[in-house]
């Protein structure tokens, strides 16, 4: 069954979109990532204009992250205070990101920037996560899994110290603010929630308790992507409500399944899986950049 999308002005199969939403939603619930890093390239692949794909994907992530947050909220695995600090940075970041996006849209280099962002960030995050989780898995196999001592680094000497009870932390508010800020920019440019950067940053950079990482990440992502959606809608008119609806119906169902499946799997294995997925997407996009393309030309809209 084909559906004509009013903003994208293309006709696509509705079941394909529902399926995509479902699959990506499953990952979202499982790993605490929005899944945008998979969905946005897929949408562009099936013929949605990149600008519409990025903006609409942000809208879909609002739905799947809210659905995930609700589930985590009941389990009390959301650190609201930490989430709010991350959010403050995120909102500033996404406002700047949408402006950057608008400029690049006019220059015709959106595709390149989006692709480069993906390759660089997915690559770095994927490799780091893979190394760490393999090491963690080895340690737990050897049966010497002892709690790591918190190292005191420069992060702990920064001002504005706050106590984050749920995360079991007493650190400065500055690093979480900047993590949020950085992820906010990416959220706007790449059409992603930024969970794939946020989650590792929370674990390794901020040293948060892993139990609250997923819930808190989703909590923050929900607000940042909400703001991104609003900004894209107001500035670029690129949010397609019909596309978003189809994706999010699939997405929220997938998320709920993921959230229920998550606790039954081992955390290290889950992280290895996520790392491999991230690297796979990174590899594919990287290859597209360096490989000689089949079609050298592309059509872009020109100003009147």
């Amino acid at each position: 069954m084909n559906v004509y999308l009013p903003i994208a002005e293309v006709s696509v199969n509705a079941f394909l979109l529902l399926g995509l939403g479902g699959g990506v939603g499953l990952l979202s619930g499982l790993f605490g990532v929005g899944g945008g890093f998979l969905m946005t390239p897929l949408l562009i692949l099936i013929g949605i204009p990149p600008a519409v794909a990025v903006a609409t994907e942000a809208n879909q992530i609002v739905a799947s992250s809210f659905s995930g947050v609700l589930a985590h909220w009941r389990r009390r695995t959301v650190d609201v205070k930490m989430g709010l600090v991350l959010l403050a940075g995120g909102l500033v970041g996404s406002a700047i990101g949408v402006q950057i996006f608008k400029i690049l849209l006019g220059l015709g280099q959106v595709e390149l920037l989006v692709a480069l962002c993906y390759v660089v960030f997915l690559g770095v995050v994927g490799v780091l996560m893979l190394i760490e989780s393999i090491q963690a898995l080895r340690k737990s196999r050897r049966g010497r899994a002892r709690p790591q001592r918190r190292r005191h680094s420069w992060i702990h000497r920064l001002p504005f110290k706050m106590r984050f009870r749920a995360s079991n932390l007493y650190i400065s508010a500055v690093p979480p603010f900047f993590v949020g800020f950085f992820v906010g920019i990416l959220a706007a440019i790449m059409g992603v929630g930024g969970g794939f950067i946020m989650v590792p940053a929370m674990i390794y950079l901020l040293g948060m308790a892993t139990t609250v990482v997923v819930g808190t990440s989703l909590f923050q992502i929900m607000f940042v992507t909400g703001a991104t959606t609003l900004l894209h809608a107001a500035l670029n008119q690129t949010v397609d409500a019909v596309l978003a609806l189809l994706l999010l119906v699939g997405g929220v169902v997938g998320t709920q399944i993921g959230v229920r499946l998550g606790p039954r799997l081992k955390a290290e294995q889950l992280r290895i899986l996520l790392a491999m997925l991230v690297l796979l997407v990174c590899g594919k996009l990287g290859l597209d950049l360096v490989q000689t393309p089949d079609e050298f030309f592309s059509i872009g809209e020109a100003a009147q």
């Binding site: 004509y4 595709e111 409500a241 709920q256």
Partner: protein, 253 residues
């Protein structure tokens, strides 16, 4: 006989009466884009009207051309820089129709002369032209060809050569399949009557392509009340997220 009437008669007699005219009607002059829109077929019915006996010079042919609203586009060529492929500066094509559909009674070069093809801009080669290319472009034709190729691949540009049959040199009909990827606007349908490779008559009519219902409403709102549209999008997302969560909690606690 009063003088004005006599004058009128004189004028009518002096004017060269066209011996052959084309009369045509479209199956629909309005295309509505609904949520389930999957393309539309336009049938052009036509007949040749004669005031005099058939002139014997050359064969009679028909060309039906449907053109979508034109917009300037930028065609970019990927270039290799620092080992990666990036979009080059791009060539602006000042007017490219969003759709170009052609149906004919035979191959274009056999039924229309080069001069008439140029004058009426019939055929993909004439309809999309690059007026002035920037100096740095080595091969401007390549950009024009790329536009035609890409739009043909997505089904927006097509020429159905020989798809029209002219019965008894009088009656004809042409089927034009409009693709699902239509944009809104006023489309123009031109029906050319040709005798001996020269255009003898043109019938021009317009087809209005409009989004209707939900599509119309969403599109208008996105552009006219963008902020409200943004808030509504978020509200829908939150409602769906909550519904799914509530549903799963109820059935799979």
């Amino acid at each position: 006989m009063p003088l004005p009437l006599a004058l009128l008669l004189l004028v009518l007699m002096v004017l060269p009466a066209r011996s052959e005219e084309v009369v045509a009607e479209l199956s629909q002059s309005q295309v509505s884009i609904t949520a389930g829109f999957s393309g539309s077929e336009i049938v052009v019915f036509g007949a040749v009207k004669r005031n005099a006996p058939t002139p014997g010079d050359g064969p009679l042919d028909v060309i039906v051309a449907v053109t979508g609203p034109s917009e300037p586009v930028i065609v970019r060529r990927k270039e290799r820089r620092f080992g990666i492929w990036i979009n080059g500066p791009g060539v602006r094509i000042s007017s490219a129709p969003s759709l170009y559909a052609l149906a004919t009674t035979g191959p274009l070069d056999q039924i229309i002369s080069h001069t008439d093809g140029l004058r009426y801009r019939v055929g993909l080669d004439q309809a999309i032209r690059l007026i002035d290319a920037p100096v740095w472009v080595d091969d401007p034709a390549e950009y024009r060809e790329a536009l035609v190729r890409l739009r043909s691949e997505s089904g927006l540009y097509f020429q159905e050569v020989g798809s029209i049959t002219l019965r008894e040199d009088t009656l004809f009909h042409a089927d034009i399949d409009l693709p699902a990827q239509l944009v809104e606007g006023d489309y123009e349908a031109r029906i050319f009557l040709l005798r001996g490779r020269e255009v003898v008559d043109i019938h021009t009519t317009s087809i209005q392509v409009r989004k209707v219902g939900l599509e119309r409403w969403l599109y208008n709102m996105a552009h006219e009340q963008s902020l409200l549209y943004g808030f509504l999008s978020i509200a829908v997302a939150l409602a769906a997220g909550w519904l799914a969560s509530a549903f799963f909690r109820f059935f799979f606690p």
